[in-house]
Amino acid sequence: MKKKEVLVLEELLGSNKKIASEIREKLEKKGILTINLLGSPGAEKLKPDYKIAVIEGDIETERDAERIRAKGISAWQIITGGACHLEAKMVAKIFPEIPADLDFLFIENVGNLVCPASYDLGENIRCVLLSVPEGDDKPKKYPKAFTTSDCLVITKSDLLPALPFNLEHAQKEALQVNPKLEIFTTSALKDSGINELIEYFLSGLHKLRQKNA
């Protein structure tokens, strides 16, 4: 019997990263800004009223995609059948169907603040959502989701008066785990803070297209 030790030093998620880079490169060439939305189930990751296309990730049902299609927006549903996150290869499967003339491609990840944080999907912007009913202590409880994100959106802010959610504390904790995080506070119900978020996405799109020009 001969024993051999092989030094590998390979990233376990290297193949995911490679597919993600290919997706990012192709979408960037088309001038499409891709946004990966992370959050808990029901954190209001998506309430679209913009000209966009959406990839929905859920454990079961087409319901979210149907809701978005009902608003006249192209949507694809990825049903993971129990898996707690999306992977780049799942997005790659949809890739041929994505129209070239889009501005924004939103990917709403499976509702989960843990697992999706490990997977690059080829996005330009990673956005973590935290809804007011979830509590203000999430950033330190789920550091990976917050450290790997570019922006944090605190949603359902209309509930602030009714709940013991300390906005300042949440913002401070989030900046402690990721000092570069851009923070937005929104209420889709009261239509507040949404314009600032749209401006942020638009400036990302602008930068991408400038780079392409």
């Binding site: 051999k4 030790e5 376990l12 490990s118 997977y119 550091p143 450290t147 402690q176």
Partner: protein, 114 residues
Amino acid sequence: MHELSIVASLFEILEEKAKEKKAKKILSVKLKVGALSGVVPEFLETAFNIYKEDTIAAESKLEIEKVPLKIRCQQCGTETVKDDFVFICEKCDSSELKTLSGTELLLEKIEMEI
């Protein structure tokens, strides 16, 4: 719980390397898992032991080196091992920090029988 998906990716690499080296079986596998890698080493081990059955690594042992989160302050140069994931320099309060280690999820080496 995405550890099983990660183990599936690990086995893709293991099988490829074993084929490349014409190995009869895999004896041990060593991983490096950072504190901020997003995976739980204990779950990774459980998933590995379930997954390995009937594979070339069926009799293998998994070794996991846990790598702490280490940062260096770009302002004052202090290096700190963090266990609280607060990205602020403990010495000078700066948030200009560089992560030195702790985010890795790496297959370091494989021991094979050839």
